[in-house]
């Protein structure tokens, strides 16, 4: 990510405000004609201070705050948090609740991947595919609405279980929707792998082989498209994945096409998995009692979000509010690879390569302090707090009057 000290370079900025990137991140691409020479990534435009905010909310309230880290993978954030807190509180969640958590998570994966398909198609200028994939995404959102009552923030989780059950009638609605989605997914798989014009924009573009992928620490579907065989659902099963393992999907070519194919095939496995879950829903209550204070201790929880591994660190000091919560979203692992992938590519392919990792910016934003003199430095809370007071004090007191 270092830039050559060439004064005459022509930099094309993308973001933080740009039609290709409706989310606030900044990329600077140095181009020679149409070919990208080097790239740099800058984050931090939408830092929301959620981790800090969790410390002044109760365990229950945090569930909904953390769910709102991401609009697309909301359920999986809540699941990761619940799993961690339940581990700390040593609460055993009933099996039916576990199964329903997995069920909603897989529905969410379908919803997220269809959304991504549309966005990626739009970046390449294939608006028709965008319109159709988003039209079909309505089906899965309707299913989620039938099940939980909301289309986006389903809030299906509570600490110690889930809120909503699936009855036979709903199971029938879900199955019907899944049949339609399966047919459509197969169709899109055919479209992305046979449409010659579209293939011109995806095949052999942004290639990342397995070694490069592992070097830059790429995870999730982006990694699996480069044959990085990692999937938290298999490696460290949670919820229902321990009893019913999922079939992983890997591709070997590592180009944009592989990223399309991996995600579409994952949708198909998700559809099969949901059908299987509906057939094998265990009988049990939906929730167990959850104490309002959580025993002191630390826990980590890992789940497979639609974009890759999501990691939570939770620390309790025995009170009714957490002591510290740390979130690492999958985009943070993937985003650095963009800076390497785009080098040598056409400017026109840059948006697609960028979107190929399925980035989610505000989820992964964080602030960083760069140590100018190369020294390592640790900031404790007191110092951070003082820094915040000073910073906002000098910047905003005037506006506030």
């Amino acid at each position: 990510m270092t830039q050559p000290a060439n004064r005459k370079r022509f930099t094309v900025p993308i973001g933080p405000q740009h039609p290709a990137l409706k989310e606030p991140g900044h990329f600077a691409f140095d181009v020679d004609g149409e070919i990208v020479q080097s790239a740099s990534v800058r984050l931090g435009y939408a830092h929301r201070g959620i981790e800090k905010a969790t410390e002044s909310r109760t365990w229950v309230q945090n569930l909904y705050l953390l769910e709102r880290i991401c609009g697309i993978c909301s359920h999986i954030h809540a699941t990761a948090y619940c799993l961690g807190v339940e581990k700390l509180a040593q609460v055993e969640v009933p099996p039916r609740a576990q199964a329903i958590r997995s069920l909603v998570a897989e529905l969410e994966r379908i919803h997220s991947h269809l959304l991504w398909l549309g966005v990626a198609a739009h970046e390449s200028g294939f608006d028709t595919l965008f319109m159709y994939s988003w039209r079909d995404r309505e089906t899965v959102m309707n299913i989620l609405e039938v099940m939980t009552g909301n289309r986006v923030h389903y809030s299906a989780n509570v600490l110690g279980g889930v809120k909503y059950d699936v009855d036979d009638q709903q199971a029938a609605t879900i199955r019907e929707g899944l049949d339609f989605l399966e047919e459509r997914t197969l169709h899109y798989l055919e479209v992305v792998s046979t449409d010659s014009l579209f293939l011109q924009r995806t095949r052999n573009i942004g290639v990342m082989d397995r070694e490069a992928a592992q070097l830059s620490g790429v995870i999730g579907p982006t990694g699996r498209a480069s044959n990085v065989q990692r999937d938290v659902r298999l490696d460290s099963p949670y919820a229902a994945y321990a009893d019913h393992p999922i079939t992983p999907v890997y591709e070997t070519t590592g180009d944009l096409l592989a990223r399309f194919v991996v995600r579409l095939r994952e949708q198909l496995t998700s559809i099969d998995y949901i059908r299987m879950l509906l057939d094998h829903l265990p009988n049990s209550p939906l929730t167990t009692r959850m104490p309002r204070r959580v025993k002191a201790g630390e826990a980590i929880s890992r789940v497979e979000a639609p974009r890759g591994e999501l990691f939570y660190y939770i620390k309790s000091n025995g009170g009714d509010m957490p002591d510290r919560i740390h979130v690492r979203t999958p985009t943070l692992c993937n985003i650095a690879s963009v800076a390497q992938l785009v080098i040598g590519q056409h400017l026109a392919d840059v948006p697609m390569i960028l979107v190929g990792i399925d980035p989610c910016f505000s989820c992964n934003d964080r602030t960083s302090v760069i140590c100018q003199d190369g020294q390592r430095d640790m900031w404790d809370w007191a110092r951070l707090r003082q820094y915040g007071i000073d910073h906002y004090g000098t910047h905003y007191t005037k506006d506030l009057g």
């Binding site: 309230q61 159709y132 449409d195």
Partner: protein
Amino acid sequence: MKLGTLFKDAWDALFSEAATEPYPNPHPDETERLRGRLRWNPEGCTGCSLCVKDCPAAAIDIFVLDKKAKQFVMRYDIGRCTFCGQCMQSCRFDCWQAANDDWSLAATTANGFVEYYGKEEDIERVLAGPVTDDPVKV
């Protein structure tokens, strides 16, 4: 190698009704569990204020006028509510219900976004008194 792989979809779309709808539209089919505007039913309420404590958005406040006589007023701010359903989950007496047919929250004025539930004379007392901004804690 093919061209125009979406031809059939496009062709079918030409002769069927569009998937999008102009706004404002009546919601075509409200689902049973849809979480819309919340309604509070004072009947079972014991004034425990669990729902208030658990609400992540500070959208509800309870005014306890007389706990024994079950005189409560509930203030509900729809503008703050995130429709998470936690209050419905927290209340052991099923006082909270989400209306599945009242979900459209677009309005041109802010009036009507704060609602008071309870007996009319109690609400009047709450509105008149100095307690409006500082709910009586139990």
